[in-house]
Amino acid sequence: MIGARLALPLAAAGLLARARGRAATALHGAAVVGTLLIGLVVAVAAVRGTEATALGGVLRVDALSGWMIMVIVVVATLAGAEAPRYAADGRAFYALLHLMVFTMLLAVSTDDVGLMWVAVEGTTLASVFLINFERTRASLEAAYKYLLICSVGIGVAFCGTVLVYYAEVMRQQTLAEHSAHALRWTALLALAPALPPRVLEIAFVFLVVGYGTKAGLAPMHTWLPDAHSEAPAPVSALMSGVLLSVGVYAIARFKPIVDAGAGPGFAGRILLALGLVSLAVAAAFLWAPANYKRMLAYSSVEHMGLVALGLGFGGVLGVSGALLHVANHALAKSTLFLLAGRIRASYGSAELAAVRDLVAAVPFSGRAFMLALFALLGLPPFGLFVSEVMIFGAGFRAGHPWLAGVALALLLVAFAGLLRAAHRMLLGAAPTLAPAGALWPGSVPIVVALAALVVTGLAWPPGLADALALAAKVVSP
């Protein structure tokens, strides 16, 4: 089953590279639905506590992987439903979109941290062309920066992975023949208490800087606002919604190993520092944004910072808050990027100054955009309110009242800036606009996503709390 789940988007990518016209769109639709269904089946089984392995243990899906798979396939569906508006005749568009989904799914469902590295690097390569899909000067520049900075980042993560492997070698004092299990996460976790702590610490710094670049944590975030604002909307949705979280996931995988080997606290402190810097950088920009796609991109830096804080505070509460925040942010942000794409198509500009009287001008997209923006601000009844309360609760409980206080203040600055932007978009006289495209079928997933955000905010379905706790225990045993 977990093999089939990976094979499907890969096969779809291969087929879509050759299909054209209506056949391509139909095939794309079938692949999106198939990926969603199989993904959900695997994910639900996993978050209920059934671990699955395949290919001799190379693929392994536990509760944490299950949670990520769920988020990935849901956002892939949202983005997939919107993709036909952008693909035009671009066969490569569909194919690369599915390839990107495949690499992300592979990254979160392998037990081998080396293969995880290969998959994360694969996400970069699959998405570069998509960022530059419109082939403007700005998108070209964004793609160049993205490719260069993320490749350097992933190189640094490679260095960290090698050092973890070296720590294992040092412990054995001899270089035994490679066992295929050498870089298995489960094996590393079991060995961790015996690994040399200083080497693990250096390795973790490399891993955080490397995967943190992919996760958009400041100060390694410089590629993010460009790439996320220049990419076509479905690609931005996938990148902001889940690709960043895949980077965080990779860091989270290494955290229990470092905690067990180098003592608790070290990894947490680094994550707290990066989280705070990310919040500060994002707040500084969000105070007065000029372009609403860049505004959404900087808000992703802010929210990844919050997730890093949750992981850094640690404990089951902090980590489950972080994981819930990953899901909530994925729903809200990908919806916002998709709607921002439509708004830009209507107004013909991504500048905030160009958008006036949003709700009257584009009724459905405007209202949905505002609702999703309120969700992103962390207002109840939406889910982000709950996950933020969990993260800050964990902070106060873990004995970091000052740090949590500063983070809250920074959050407030970003809040005010985003609210002001919303205000500007709502007021004024509507210009005459280009007619909006057909609403169906991209709009149904958007409504469902907004409803899901209310569900995670108001009424948790049975099993959600258990699933979160189970996934959190993987990171914070």
């Binding site: 080396g114 690097e121 390569l125 070209l140 350097v152 070698v169 004092q173």
Partner: protein
């Protein structure tokens, strides 16, 4: 084994410093090819001395990729580029000095691994040398004035990482090694596509012209 690995890693570092000093991109590509050959030799040497046939194969693949395929792509990228990207008058002294400082940094960072108290495999003494190559590659990448210079810097960084992985582990498990090779190749080809388009748009690879996105 220690002598051989130390010597080859040292030569690779020396070539990197020369590369920083050299300004013409053709010269830099030539030095990159020489450095890659040295690293391929390092892989083969370790493979023979440690009796790891797989490592010899890695060395051969590495040599084909980095001394033949990638340099060809680099020369295609550079077609028509001015030989020296910067206006004359900029001395190479400062970058070389910075690169020298990075060697010291590399030794400091790797201290817990190479220090007297540490134990491990015999080649560990050369780890800081390779790490320094990676850091200097990063420096070239950050300070590069044109896109081609940045790509060359990135490739030097990548070479340093390859050396590091070799010296620390005698080669990683096969699937990761293969994945890493494939990805460097795809990355360079993607880079070529991007660079060709940058040249078409801006009639230059000067990164100062990339200034659409700010704020």
């Amino acid at each position: 084994m220690t002598v051989a690995s130390n010597f080859l890693a040292f030569v690779a570092l020396g070539l990197t410093l020369l590369l920083v000093w050299r300004q013409s991109w053709r010269g830099r590509v030539r030095l990159f090819v020489m450095q890659s050959s040295v690293l391929a030799a390092l892989a083969v040497t370790l493979g023979v001395l440690a009796r790891r046939p797989a490592l010899v194969a890695v060395g051969v693949v590495f040599a084909v990729m980095k001394t033949w395929i990638i340099p060809r792509v680099l020369r295609r990228m550079g077609q028509g580029n001015p030989l020296r990207p910067v206006a004359p008058g900029r001395s190479a002294g400062l970058p070389v000095l910075a690169a020298g400082a990075l060697v010291v940094v590399a030794y400091a960072v790797m201290l817990p691994i190479t220090g007297a108290a540490a134990v491990g495999i015999p080649t560990r003494g050369a780890l800081p040398l390779s790490f320094a190559v990676a850091l200097i590659g990063l420096l070239l990448c950050v300070t590069g004035r044109d896109a081609l210079g940045q790509v060359i810097g990135f490739l030097v960084f990548e070479n340093g990482l390859f050396g590091l992985a070799l010296l620390a582990t005698y080669g990683l498990p096969g699937i990761i090694e293969a994945g890493a090779f494939l990805e460097v190749l795809v990355l360079v080809l993607l880079m070529e596509g991007v660079l060709v388009q940058i040249r078409r748009e801006h009639e230059s690879l000067d990164i100062d012209r990339l200034r659409e996105l700010r704020g």
